[in-house]
């Protein structure tokens, strides 16, 4: 009894801080999402109306929400595998016995993660430029027609994906590199003695040993990619024709540009529900795999 009192006393400051700065705002936001809190309510609380699930129902009926959801999913489906594959490829290259100047390459690959997004976005906008951009010039060299990267509703999201993957792959690369370095050399040796080539070694030694790290990386990347915001905010402002408007971008526009906080918090909770469900599925799947 005494010990538990002491324990509670010791964790109390952390719990209080957590409650005040984490749980309380979340509960307040949830309540806010059941109201039509907006500019007029900010002026005078008498203008606040309780709308129940109204915000959520309006949201489900808004074409832009579905478009934003579709855009976000497109970004995740294209971006997450590409990002993890790039990270894994870079990690394998750096971890290779043949590689030289490892620390230099590690620094180079990691550099985009720590650069300012706004600054590099400006440069990428030049790279993507339809007429004067380097990317279209390179495509032209191999005979591909100019792509209207940021101007065409079909190409804007792929352009954002390329930019985001370039910006973020270094982070996962470091985590995967750490995972690669924990794989004991004996395993590769044993595989070689059994006659496994490089590909078979990768498939039967590297991948299974990396699986737990890959799971963590995929959950983190997916959660991060669902919260797409800064890239379209800086590169395209959600356009063209709202093809790069993500769920979070929609929330930002509604909440901080037009101050429809009730509606915006409803958007946030829908995103939360989606992420929560997806993470549950991922954890379930991984349990089943590791159970085998």
């Amino acid at each position: 009894m005494r010990r538990s009192v002491a324990a509670w006393t010791l964790v109390a400051p952390a719990l209080i801080a957590l409650a005040m700065f984490f749980f309380l705002p979340i509960v307040a936001a949830l309540l806010l999402s059941f109201t039509d809190f907006d500019l007029y309510a900010l002026a005078d609380l008498h203008n606040l109306r309780f709308v129940g699930l109204g915000n959520y129902l309006t949201l489900l009926k808004t074409p832009l929400f579905w478009q934003a959801l579709g855009n976000t999913i497109e970004f995740v489906v294209l971006g997450v595998p590409l990002s993890i594959a790039t990270s894994l490829g870079a990690a394998l290259l750096i971890n290779s016995k043949l590689a030289r100047f490892r620390s230099i390459f590690r620094t180079i690959f990691f550099a985009p993660v720590v650069t300012t997004l706004v600054a590099v976005a400006v440069i990428w906008r030049y790279l993507f430029n339809t007429r004067f951009g380097v990317i279209n010039w390179l495509l032209g060299l191999i005979g591909l027609g100019p792509v209207d990267w940021l101007g065409s509703p079909h190409w804007a999201m792929p352009a954002i994906v390329i930019f985001a993957v370039w910006k973020n792959f270094g982070y996962n690369m470091i985590i995967l590199l750490a995972g690669l370095q924990t794989i004991p050399d004996d395993l590769y040796e044993a595989a070689r003695i059994d006659g496994a080539g490089p590909l078979a070694q990768f498939r039967h030694v590297t991948l299974p040993a990396l699986a737990p790290v890959m799971l963590v990386v995929s959950i983190l990347t997916m959660a991060a990619y669902f919260q797409l915001f800064a890239e379209p905010y800086v590169m395209t402002q959600g356009g063209p024709v709202q093809s790069t408007t993500s769920i979070l971008y929609l929330m930002f526009v509604q909440g901080f540009q037009f101050w429809n906080l009730g509606y915006a918090t409803a958007v946030a909770f829908v995103l939360f529900a989606i992420l929560f469900a997806l993470t549950l599925v991922q954890v379930r799947l991984s349990r089943r795999w590791s159970g085998q």
């Binding site: 500019l39 203008n47 906008r125 007429r131 209207d148 402002q237 356009g239 063209p240 024709v241 540009q257």
Partner: protein
Amino acid sequence: MKARALWAIVAALLAGSCAKPGDRVTLTVWAMGAEGTAIVQLVPGFEKANPGIKVDVEQLPFAEAHQKLLTGFAGDSLPDMAQLGNSWLPEFEALGALAPLDARVATTPAIDRRDYFPGIWDASRIDGRLYGVPWYVDTRLLFYRRDLLKRAGFDHPPRDWAEWRRQMVAIKRLVGPGKFAAIFPLNEYEPLEVLGLQQPEPMVTADARANFENPGFERALAFYLGTVRSGLAPAIANTEIANIWDQFDRGDFSFYITGPWQLDEFAKRIPADRQDEWATAPMPGPDGPGASNAGGSSLVIFRRSDKQDAAWKLIAYLSTPEMELRFHQLTGDLPPRRSTWRAPALAGDAKAQAFLAQLQRVKPTPKVPEWEAIATMMRTVTEAAAHNDMPAAEVAAEIDRQADAILAKRRWMLERERKKPVAGAAS
């Protein structure tokens, strides 16, 4: 509540006991962007003339100003006065954040309302009350390629839409494929907003109903969409333009609707030997010279401030023609008073003179806090329509429907307000 009152008394007593006649009032002012930098240079003169007042200027970047002002209101940390964009005035008036200024103007001969352009003065008035003193004006008009227009067979800028259209077709024929006659960046709502303001009917009515489904707006929309769809203007956003001045200089487009901040940029970025190739002209209207938007910023005093007298002194100081002229020299911003325009620096500048002509015909955008949301929606619907061939009337109906949804809360509030006095009379 009681405790707060007590503290207030204690604080007042302390302040009172400390206050000596020589003590200075500190006035906090928020200003944005280039104006924020310029006002810092004007303040010392004011402080010298008013030894009792010290001015504390906080500079905000334009992109964050709106959010910072709203957060400041929510957190009760607004300054005494600020520079406020004319299109934000209705919002802060709805919040009840602004002090009305009519009584002060009436007793301040230095601020003569008849000296201001009427459209600009009107932009600071809501429901018959004045909430800001115009500080500088932004209105959009035509920047055009004089040389290309001449080669296409015209010796003057367009006076009405029909002539404008003919000129665009002629220029497009002249410059050929890959180049265009005009540019209406699809991620800017202002060009269409200006065309909409030129129409006789307002886009939002006094009882907060959307009014886009009328022949006037449909005509504006048809003109706008027609220009883009027929290839006279490219269907692109300005995020795709690497360097607008360079492309203008190369003749990629000959008409560009933009504002006075571009005067300096065009002068700087287009090579000196080709400065004659471009000029400015007032907006053409549907039939004859047309109106444009009454943009720019006003100086406002916040209602919660307890230094409103000092704030008004600063406003009066900054609003004199001499100060407006210095401000113009520092920023390139255009003054809102006619007498300032008589100064040789402005009277002799041909490219600025088009703005003087336009300022006689400016109209404020609809004075509802929802306007920015409506204009943004109008832009997205139109952007989508630029890529298909939906008839203008249908596009207008869609804008109308969505704008009505945005205005629903305001109508509910007006309705409630309307019922209130009746209930009072019955009791």
